[in-house]
């Protein structure tokens, strides 16, 4: 696959602000029809990464290309093909939704008829579609809906969403999910950065975790979703923990002041033997249970294992 055939191509991207190194050699390749979820703790560099992809910031080192265009060129050709929702809704507060949309449609070369068809089909019946007041009178959730409405205008080829579902009600959330799926059917590439892991799980086909400036791609997301696992909670000392890890090869980690041993469902045959070993070592078994692990738990486990 050549660089130009990838919608988003990032190679060895570095960025620092003063002494703080935010991105430390990030690599990413996304093809069309991909919905990529970007997760990470506060301050991990997700917004910086999106701003770099949009050319709002310049990398210290490395390169990136969006639809074959270097974002640092600030090419209007790139922005006309990109839907963007950033930290702020970015609507002009004295203008109504429709006036704002007219402006962005003209900026993006979306025709008047295309704008009206899009608005009538997806937004006319929503509360922002019926409200002709200036955007400054809207609630936070309504403003976010406006931003989403603008981002999907003309159904561009690539999307960048930074916390797109914050403050959305259930109906608006559903609308967002529907529009993401519509965009995907139109071969778009979508990058969603969010702390709402349920949204990431529902929509994304692949996920990356940004931590300490490095992007770790979670392969085979389907396997991460809703998988089952055995959890053994026990009280034991550090020596026992080491022995268990050496003997079983399974990760153990400290959580809620209890040692917790997690075993994948497909290795459940070792559970009785392990419990017996632990008891013989004098450990007090608190709980042995089969959990259905959510995506949220998977991500939590990722961080716990890192600790």
């Amino acid at each position: 696959m050549t660089t130009s055939s990838k919608s988003i191509f990032v190679q060895d991207l570095y960025k620092r602000f003063g002494d703080k190194r935010v991105l430390n050699g990030v690599n990413l390749e996304l093809k069309e029809k991909t919905i990529f979820g970007l997760v990470g703790l506060n301050g991990a560099g997700k917004t910086t990464f999106i701003r770099l992809l949009l050319g709002l910031l310049n990398p210290d080192r490395g390169s990136c290309s969006i639809l074959g265009i270097n974002p640092s060129s600030h090419s209007p050709l790139l922005y006309k093909r990109a839907g963007v929702v950033l930290e702020h809704n970015g609507f002009f507060s004295n203008l109504s939704v429709m006036e704002n949309l007219h402006f962005f449609a003209k900026a993006r070369d979306v025709s008047e008829s295309e704008l009206h068809t899009y608005f009538e089909k997806y937004w006319q019946e929503t509360d922002i579609g019926k409200d002709n007041r200036p955007v400054k009178y809207f609630s936070r959730g309504q403003r976010m809906q406006c931003a989403l409405c603008r981002a999907f205008l003309g159904f561009p080829e690539v999307y960048f969403f930074d916390e797109p579902v914050v403050a959305l009600d259930m109906e608006a959330y559903r609308k967002f999910c529907d529009l993401v799926k519509v965009a995907q059917t139109k071969n778009a590439t979508i990058l969603i950065s969010s702390h709402q892991l349920d949204t990431i799980e529902e929509l994304c086909t692949s996920v990356g975790i940004l931590e300490k400036g490095v992007l770790t791609i979670v392969q085979e997301l389907e396997k991460k979703k809703s998988r089952e696992q055995w959890t053994i909670k026990t009280e034991c000392n550090d020596n026992v923990k080491k022995v268990i890890e050496e003997v079983t090869g399974y990760p153990t980690y400290y959580k809620n002041e209890k040692w917790q041993l997690v075993i994948a469902k497909d290795s459940e045959n070792v559970v009785p033997e392990l419990v017996s070993t632990l008891v013989s070592m004098g450990c007090l078994i608190k709980e042995v249970k089969l959990d259905k692990m959510s995506f949220r738990d998977s991500i939590q486990q990722y961080y716990d294992e890192k600790k």
């Binding site: 709002l56 310049n58 922005y79 963007v84 950033l86 809704n89 002009f92 004295n94 962005f104």
Partner: protein, 224 residues
């Protein structure tokens, strides 16, 4: 050109849909300044009157710069505007043109109010208009507006604290006018040359603004 016109029309719609009291404030300002200038519109101090009008641009253009550049940066609208599909050059130029056009209209109104006041006091309109030709006054005022608009555009990106913007605008205009006046005592410069100097300095600020709008400075956090 199409993109510049799009920015100007966006700024215009945003302005006419502002809160009503803003128009009242502009009205009061224009009248008050018009009365002030009218006191300096006789044969001995006609130049002072023209310079008073030039300083009116600091208030008007400064306020428009605040709305067009600083407020949009603060609300995050500028970030979206930069990714909207318009070139950065047309965004900066469109906003500067809008500020210059609106400020010039208001300054012209202000000058006509001053003329009206003098005429009402019994002065001849024909004589007043011959003291300094109208086009010279408008050119002087428009060049002062251009200077303030470009300086505002640059400072809105350059300084972290935009509340300093009107003060810096005032300082820049003050330095230029005072330097010009000092020189004119020596070599007899006219208002025409002052307009040229302000336009030239404005062009330099425009280039600075364009450079900074193309850098990541445009996203630096604001301290208000």
């Amino acid at each position: 050109m199409k993109q510049i016109l799009l920015i100007i029309s966006k700024e215009w719609v945003g302005f006419i849909k502002s809160d009503k009291w803003i128009f009242l404030i502009y009205g009061i300002l224009i009248c008050a300044w018009g009365f002030l200038i009218s006191n300096n519109m006789h044969s001995l101090s006609s130049k002072t009157g023209a310079l008073w009008l030039a300083f009116f641009s600091v208030i008007i253009s400064g306020n428009f710069s605040n709305t067009a550049f600083v407020a949009e940066r603060m609300s995050g609208a500028l970030e979206i505007l930069l990714t909207s599909g318009l070139s950065r050059k047309s965004i900066v130029l469109g906003k500067i043109f809008f500020i210059v056009i609106m400020s010039t209209i208001m300054g012209t109104l202000c000058y006509f109010i001053a003329l009206g006041v003098r005429t009402a006091k019994g002065d001849s309109f024909q004589v007043l208009i011959r003291l300094i030709p109208l086009w010279k006054i408008i050119l002087l005022y428009a060049s002062a507006c251009f200077l303030n608009a470009t300086c505002g555009a640059w400072l809105s990106v350059r300084v972290k604290s935009p509340r300093l913007l009107p003060f810096v605008n005032l300082m820049v205009l003050g330095i230029i006018v005072v330097s010009h006046e000092l020189l004119s005592y020596k070599i007899g410069l006219s208002l025409w040359s002052l307009s040229m100097v302000m336009t030239f300095v404005g062009l330099i600020f425009y280039l600075f603004a364009l450079r900074d709008f193309n850098s990541e400075r445009v996203l630096q956090p604001l301290v208000y």
